[in-house]
């Protein structure tokens, strides 16, 4: 179904009531920044002032790890960014609003208001708590904040009331089936249901690790397994799906996945876009968009 992907996700974001939106991914080069750019574009067209930051480093012209070309972030006034001072372009000049106590590999993190449209690089705080603090700070300046997430770095989602967009793609898995398993596992994990307190439960202090989950499965644990929030579930891929299948896993503070985006063209392989989008939508039961094809999975 032909849609304007950015506008569609912005509408879902509006409906969620969240003020911040994180784009997280199942791997590298799965279209996180492309998705973020589409949503940001919808905000700009809709006149919604936005703040932007990243978990770690994003928005560079080339991936620092594998030198593959990366989509750049063209930002417009009056957006506000939280980024490292060393990566702010000298020209066009930005309006510097404040220094922060957060340090990054590229120097102190600063808040800056975009005064002229240009390409910008986002280097956000390296820690989850730092990202949370920066999101809260940005919301003092603007009504909405977009966060470009690193690969499956979901710890920063803890303690927030964010909307989440999950990106997946052909670049992060050797075959379509595995890509679908990965995104389903991540979405299932992030959408861990809230514990209603009506049944007998086993509270997990700290993280639900693969070792703990395996032991609980071996012991045929029937009680509800309750973690603080989904970021405390350290299970991925098939292990996560297996654990969720065998155990009743719940959380106290659920997260809010509003959409999935797909990138069917990886550097080494491609998936058939519509079939991939349909399969992801079926596996995750979340609105699924192909940003490149401007389509929503039927």
């Amino acid at each position: 179904m032909r849609v304007h992907v950015g506008d569609s996700i912005l509408q879902l974001w509006n409906e969620s009531g969240a003020t911040s939106l994180f784009v997280v991914g199942t791997g590298k080069n799965v279209g996180k920044t492309v998705a973020l750019r589409a949503i940001y574009g919808a905000c700009v067209r809709g006149g919604v002032p936005c703040g932007l930051t990243s978990i770690g480093r994003d928005g560079e012209a080339f991936d620092v790890a594998d030198t593959a070309a990366k989509p750049r972030l063209w930002l417009e006034p009056p957006s506000i960014i939280a980024t490292a001072r060393e990566v702010l372009p000298r020209s066009p000049a930005s309006e510097l609003l404040a220094f922060t106590a957060h340090r990054t590999a590229a120097g102190a993190l600063v808040y800056a208001r975009i005064r002229s449209g240009a390409y910008y690089e986002l280097v956000g705080p390296p820690s989850a708590s730092g990202v949370r603090a920066v999101v809260d700070d940005l919301l003092q300046f603007v009504p909405r904040v977009l966060v470009d997430g690193a690969i499956d770095r979901v710890a920063a989602l803890a303690g927030g009331h964010d909307a989440i967009v999950v990106s997946c793609g052909a670049a992060a898995a050797p075959a379509q089936g595995e890509a679908i398993d990965d995104v389903r596992a991540l979405v299932v994990r992030l959408r861990t249901p809230r514990f209603d307190g009506k049944t007998e439960s086993l509270q997990i202090e700290g993280a639900l690790t693969p070792a703990i989950a395996a032991q609980l499965i071996r012991e045929r644990e029937r009680r509800a397994i309750v973690v603080r929030d989904p970021t405390q579930i350290l299970l991925t891929g098939k292990a996560a799906l297996h654990a969720f299948d065998r155990l009743g896993i719940y959380c106290e503070r659920p997260l809010n996945v509003i959409a999935v985006t797909i990138a069917s063209a990886g550097r080494d392989r491609t998936f058939e876009p519509r079939e991939f989008a349909r399969a992801v939508a079926t596996a995750t039961a979340v609105p699924t968009f192909d940003v490149y094809a401007a389509e929503r999975a039927a």
Partner: protein
């Protein structure tokens, strides 16, 4: 703040050096830079130490707590603009973050000077050069705290930016037209540089203006292909962007040259700011702990009244208890006796702490105090045997002896020596003999000191002044339940921690047995202990 040669690590720990350093610490980067280099005043610098403490006390009197805290808030939030000034002075171009740092520094100087205007003992931070630089940057003020290379800096900025906005709009329009044409031809949105066209949706060939960047079996990954019109618009936009960059750089150069020409004065301003921060930190300490200026004398000696070891006083206060201020006079080496948990160690630490504060030119936590500037404050005994935790093979007595050897071998003078139950772990007879001998040796070395001990007859044998903790006012009743906290409270209520000078030996009491009873030792053991005492 460094110990220099005043304290070794064990003695520093015993007399609360780290606590004092934290309590005096300035709030911001300029103060921290100065504070890191502060060393104690040495013998011979009595006037400087006295003058500094008096200056700190005057600042504490001139500014109330709210003003001192407000000044520290200003210092805490000021960014370090030292690197910006250094870069400018070496001819380097400044970036906008540097300019914001400088603007924040200038703002902080103005606010700090206004806040401390009534206090002549603090240096002014915003001299005329600082104000000139502040005026030069003022046009960049954005909102209350921000900085932007505003058009007001230079008319060419507005012109260049106007041209950029115009050419950007032209380019966006040209690209938008091309994009709209392709979108119409394909009946879909084109909002990203790269987009997918499904082969199944393609009736015929791709529309003009589209370039295929990758082919897949079922789709084409495409980009918009810029036509001559778009490329020309892009060329004009890039030229305009370069003109903006050039104009912005020229403004930054001009601002950097303003900073460069006043770099020396700005560095002075930063030093003054740091000095203010350090002095205000000391003044806050003075107010918080009701300190007074000690009289600093050239000859070895230490005397005080109403003195407190504030690290312990703070802990007690947090538990709802009070530290009993103490007084004593040391003009040589004196002996201190008293019951267990009677405050002998606290008295020793108080001596060290008072001397330590005076050595750093800070008012001391006492009603009145007189002290020398000691070349060394040495602690020997309980609390100095850190090696015990390091797996040393030496016994506790052997460790004390090794420390004593080092202490007696040192040449520092005058010296304050604090002996906490030295030789407590050997036989009482030999322990007493050793302690008396050490006191006599310290006296020969003209050291000033206090030796706390449970050994009887040391003061008489050594011919020294003798202080004693008054001790238990009576035999406290043990709490009904086995409640250690309540037992300690009972003990504190029964204990008179006051020091008094005594002549001759005090009769040996049974405070230790009473304490053992209070702490819950079996009554039969206590009774047996009393019987044994009576039979002696």
């Amino acid at each position: 703040m460094k110990t220099g040669s005043l304290l070794d690590p064990a003695s520093a720990q015993a007399v609360g050096f780290s606590w004092l350093r934290d309590a005096l610490a300035p709030a911001g980067p300029y103060g921290e830079a100065q504070f890191a280099g502060i060393e104690p005043f040495a013998p011979g610098q009595e006037a400087q130490a006295r003058d500094r403490a008096a200056r700190v006390a005057r600042i504490a009197a001139a500014l109330d707590v709210a003003q001192l805290d407000a000044a520290r808030e200003i210092a805490r939030h000021v960014p370090d603009a030292g690197a910006a000034v250094a870069r400018a002075s070496m001819g380097d171009a400044l970036d906008d973050a540097n300019l914001l740092e400088l603007q924040r520094f200038f703002d902080a100087c103005e606010r700090l000077d206004a806040l401390t205007a009534a206090c002549d003992d603090l240096p002014r931070t915003a001299g005329e050069p600082v104000r000139e630089c502040a005026r030069a940057l003022e046009r960049g003020r954005a909102g209350r705290f921000g900085f932007y290379l505003n058009d007001a800096f230079d008319a060419s900025l507005a012109t260049a930016r106007g041209a950029l906005a115009h050419t950007q709009a032209e380019y966006d329009a040209a690209r938008g037209r091309a994009s709209a044409a392709v979108a119409a031809a394909l009946d879909r949105e084109i909002s990203l540089p790269e987009f997918i066209v499904m082969r199944a949706d393609l009736a015929g060939s791709l529309p003009s203006g589209v370039r295929v960047v990758r082919e897949a079996p079922t789709y084409l990954l495409c980009e918009l292909d810029a036509d001559e019109g778009v490329l020309a618009a892009l060329r004009r936009r890039d030229e305009a962007a370069a003109a903006v960059a050039h104009a912005e750089e020229r403004v930054r150069e001009h601002l950097a040259s303003t900073i460069r020409s006043r770099a020396a004065a700005l560095e002075d301003g930063m030093r003054s700011f740091g000095e203010c921060d350090v002095l205000i930190g000391a003044a806050r300490f003075t107010r918080t702990y009701r300190c007074s200026v000690a009289s600093i004398q050239a000859q070895a000696g230490l005397a005080f009244e109403g003195a407190r070891f504030v690290p312990l006083a703070n802990e007690l206060e947090a538990q709802g208890r009070a530290f009993t201020p103490i007084g004593l006079r040391l003009d040589g080496v004196a002996v201190l006796t008293g019951p267990n948990m009677g405050g002998k160690s606290a008295a020793l630490r108080t001596c060290g702490f008072i001397a330590l504060c005076a050595a750093f030119g800070v008012p001391v936590p006492a009603q009145r105090a007189q002290t020398a500037l000691f070349a060394e404050i040495a602690w020997l005994g309980i609390g100095s045997d850190r090696e015990e935790r390091d797996g040393s093979l030496l016994s506790s007595f052997a460790r004390e002896v090794v420390r004593l050897r080092d202490l007696l071998g040192g040449a520092a003078s005058p010296r304050l020596v604090l002996l906490d139950e030295f030789a407590r772990t050997t036989t009482p007879r030999e322990g007493k003999a050793l302690l008396v001998a050490v006191i006599e040796r310290l006296r020969e070395m003209r050291a000033c000191g206090l030796a706390a001990t449970h050994l009887g007859g040391v003061a008489e044998a050594a011919g020294t002044r003798h202080y004693a903790v008054r001790g238990l006012r009576g035999i406290p009743q043990a709490p009904a339940a086995d409640d250690l906290t309540q037992a300690l409270e009972t003990l504190a209520a029964s204990m008179d921690y006051t020091l008094e000078e005594v002549s001759g030996e005090r009769p040996q009491g049974a405070d230790a047995i009473a304490l053992a009873a209070l702490l819950g030792i079996d009554a039969r053991v206590i009774e047996a202990a009393y019987r044994a005492m009576e039979s002696e």
